[in-house]
Structures are given as structure tokens and as C-alpha cells.
Point group: C2
Chain length 241, copies 2
DNA sequence: AATAGTTGTCTATTACATTAGACAAATCGA
DNA sequence: TCGATTTGTCTAATGTAATAGACAACTATT
């Protein structure tokens, strides 16, 4: 069991306690139904005041991760984190099938943009070329699990936005352009704090950590067809290569 | 350009400004040598006071990311983040070759443990079996870039600790056990805040974000040979699949 | 029924984060 | 050289984080 404290670094102690306890739960040190150490014991472990621990527990209770029962103790309610597989043939919905009952993807908007240097390099086109940008939010069992922005070359996929709004999966949309197979060329993974927009859309506590993946898909000739920037809440998701 | 603010979520505003500006720099919106917006402009962008922005800039200056010059402005000093490739044939030192002048790995310690459920499952052995645990810290050009813990079955690699202390790379150590080829079976990636020990070892500001990778390597027969838990500072590293 | 152990609530105090304003010091161009 | 722009420093006020202690409410065991 790790001990925190020392200096804050701009992250409040109650917040670090939240992260530490959630890590114990997700990491399997505490199983569903287990009783947590008493507030007094946790306060000692984290060299914090009992009130500070209570604030952390209140956050976890709010998230549904733990539940307190007066006189008895505080118990682990739900311990699961989804795994998102990444590989040559990554398909969003297939990968999560079986891990959640209901998977939904909500179209947030689309627009025509001029490719910036990053997007242009990923898609192998000139900077400034027209690209279609799609914004989407995916949820599993009602809880948001990813906020994705996808760019595609306008020249090749001029009306991709309409087809996506039609409710089709990307696999089907690509097929409608005659692309019956595609694969993952590269995935870059980083991590950072969520900003306010992401916090709201993903239903996170401000200051939550995101796993950020930048993925390029290519058709069977190796030509890039899409560049996707996906943001996953680190507390609900992990990526498996 | 993203705007932050709203509620804190336990992460101080100056800290979120640090993360946001660093992201702009690493993400290429600001190149090395570029002048940042003035403190007044940044204060407006983040809906913060100039003093709060100054605190954030002081942290970035301390990290060597930016430098302020009275009367002139604040400039980007160093913008690079290392990329760590992950794939079937992941080799630590090869992957980073060319990105840093000097790569060192420091052995922090080793001990005999009884495998817990996680380690046992990864190595395909019984929980409670004896395993050798190795702790190491890797640095590029003097800056720590990963803190790794590796477990190997004691039965198969009884004196692996001595051989590692001898200064050999894992590739050579495995070869000394007759394993001339091995590959990566799976990699799980998550993210969280650093705890105090990690903060100190990796030379990070408290509250820094870590990319956590759990990797299982297998020999040519597909038998697991090692389970490695590596922690990378998200501000200095990204993972590329 | 009594008691020990646990969570729930209240008040008070101290340290840190943030805002606010004013002015000094350095740089650059007109 | 002047004036506008920018970073550096100081003082002060306010709100949130964290500590501290006391006691109520509830649970389980003896």
C-alpha cells in the first residue's frame, strides 16, 4: 500500500486519496463487496485528517465506486474498468462487445476544415487541404467512455458526415466508399488531464486523467483513410495492445 | 485553443494551466523559440489572474520548458517528448535509439517474492510460487523516463538478479538462459497520478501523470517469461503501437 | 442491555490558492 | 530619447483545502 503526502504539486490531497483508493479497487487489492479500512485507518495511511479522507470517500461514493453504511463501514460497490483492444484490425464496437450490455455512439457534429500540419501529415495530404472533421461521443451502459474526433480527406470522402449521421458504423461507411477492408497503421498513446469540455462531455470530475490515442487507419493499399484522436477516461478504460 | 476554468476538481488552476501550455508546446502549437502569448493574454484565455498564470509559467521555467525575459516575453526553450515503440518485438533500448544521446538503466534492487494473483496469471504459474522481482530506473540524457518492475519465475530464472546487476541488457540475460528470441504477448496501458515514491525517483512535480504499461513477454514457444510493470512520465514520453 | 467500533455532523482554526491593484525594471521601435 | 509593451515585485483581501476536536447516530457483539 502506497503512502502519499509530502507536497501537493497542485493536486489536492483529497483528490490524490480518491485516485489511490480507486487504484486499489481497480487493481484488485480490494474486490467488490470488500470492506475498506476504517476512515481512521485510511487517515493514518495517507497521513491525512479523517475529514479529508471523508471528502475523498464522498467523491468515490458519488461515482458509485464505494458506499458507506453508518455503523458498519464503507464497502466496494463496483470495481470494473473496460479494456479497449488495439491492434492491426481494431474495430471499436467489436472490441468492447461482451464487456458492456449497451454500446452507443452519439454524433456531436461535423464540419469542413483545412488540414493543419498534424492532420495533413497523418493523412498524407498537403497542409491546408480540405478535410471533414467528425466529433463523436461513445458510451457503454450509459456511461461515456470515449470522446473521439476523426478527420478524413474531403476529396475522397466528401459526404461522409451524412453517412455517419445515418447511424452507420465506420466499417459500414467505409464499405459504402468501396473500402471493404482497412487496418490500423499506427497508434500513439499519451495521457493528460481533461479540460472542461471533455470533463463535461465525459461526465468526469474536473481534473480527471485521460488516455489519449491518435490512430491512423489505412486501406488495403496502405493509403491513409482516417486520423482519429480519441480520449478515454483513465478511470474507466484501459488500452490493450 | 482550449479554455479551462469552472470548478477545480482538486487540481489547482495554476496546475491545469501548466498542463495546458505544456500540451500546446508538445502538441506543436508552439515551436521551440516561439514567444508565448503575454501573461495578460494567457490570463484572459484561462480566465485567471495574471499572478496565477505567472505561477504556472514559473513551474514550466523550472522544468526548462520555457524561459521568461523581462521586457521581451516568455519563450519556448525545449519541446521534445520521447516516443516509446510497442510491438511484437519490443526491445527497450533499440526503440529509443536515435531519440536520445545517452540511455542508462539503473538497477534499484531485487528480491524473492511469492507471486500474487496478478503476477501469477501473467506468468501462467500458481499464485504463491516464488518469483524474482527486479526494480529499475531508466534515463535518457540524464532525465528519468521510466520506472519498471519486472517479475520472472524463480524456477526458470533463479539467479537472474545477479546477471542483471552484471550490467547486461534483458536481451542478453535471456540469451544466457538459452532464450535467443522472445516477443511481446500483450501490453495493457493505463494512466494515473504518480505517487510520492515515483515522483521522487522520476524527478517529477507531485501530481504528475504516469502512463502505466503492463507487458508480458513470451519465448518462442509462447511460454510467458516475464511480466513487466513500467511507469512513464506522460509529460516526457508517449507510447507508439 | 451494555459496550466497543464505525460513520455522520458540527464548530473552529490554520495554510494555501486565487484575485486585485499598483508600480518598478527591462526591451524595442518610432 | 520617449513611450508603449512586457516581465518582476510587493501588499492586501477573499475563498477553498486541510487540520483538530467533540459528540451524535447506528451496528454488531458480548
Amino acid at each position: 500500500m502506497t503512502v502519499l503526502k509530502d507536497v501537493s504539486g497542485g493536486v489536492a490531497l483529497w483528490r490524490r486519496i480518491v485516485d489511490a483508493i480507486r487504484l486499489d479497487i481497480i487493481g484488485g487489492k480490494l474486490a467488490e463487496g470488500d470492506r475498506l479500512p476504517t476512515e481512521a485507518a485510511l487517515a493514518e495511511r495517507f497521513s491525512a485528517n479523517r475529514h479529508t479522507v471523508r471528502r475523498a470517500l464522498a467523491v468515490l461514493a458519488d461515482e458509485g465506486v464505494v458506499g458507506a453504511e453508518q455503523g458498519r463501514g464503507t464497502f466496494v460497490r463496483s470495481a470494473r474498468r473496460l479494456s479497449y483492444p488495439i491492434g492491426k484490425r481494431t474495430r471499436f464496437s467489436e472490441g468492447l462487445a461482451g464487456q458492456a450490455r449497451m454500446l452507443t455512439t452519439q454524433h456531436l457534429g461535423d464540419r469542413l476544415e483545412n488540414a493543419n500540419a498534424t492532420v495533413a501529415a497523418a493523412l498524407g495530404i498537403r497542409a491546408g487541404s480540405k478535410v471533414v472533421r467528425l466529433d463523436a461521443l461513445s458510451s457503454a451502459d450509459g456511461k461515456p467512455i470515449s470522446r473521439a474526433t476523426t478527420w478524413l480527406a474531403y476529396r475522397r470522402f466528401p459526404d461522409v458526415a451524412q453517412r455517419v449521421i445515418g447511424g452507420q458504423r465506420m466499417t459500414a461507411v467505409f464499405a459504402s466508399y468501396g473500402i471493404n477492408d482497412y487496418s490500423r497503421a499506427s497508434t500513439r498513446i499519451s495521457a493528460r488531464h481533461a479540460d472542461v469540455e471533455e470533463t463535461q462531455l465525459l461526465g468526469l470530475a474536473p481534473g480527471a486523467i485521460l488516455l489519449v490515442s491518435e490512430a491512423v487507419d489505412v486501406d488495403s493499399d496502405g493509403v491513409p483513410i482516417s486520423y482519429a484522436l480519441s480520449r478515454f477516461p483513465a478511470e474507466r478504460m484501459e488500452l490493450v495492445v
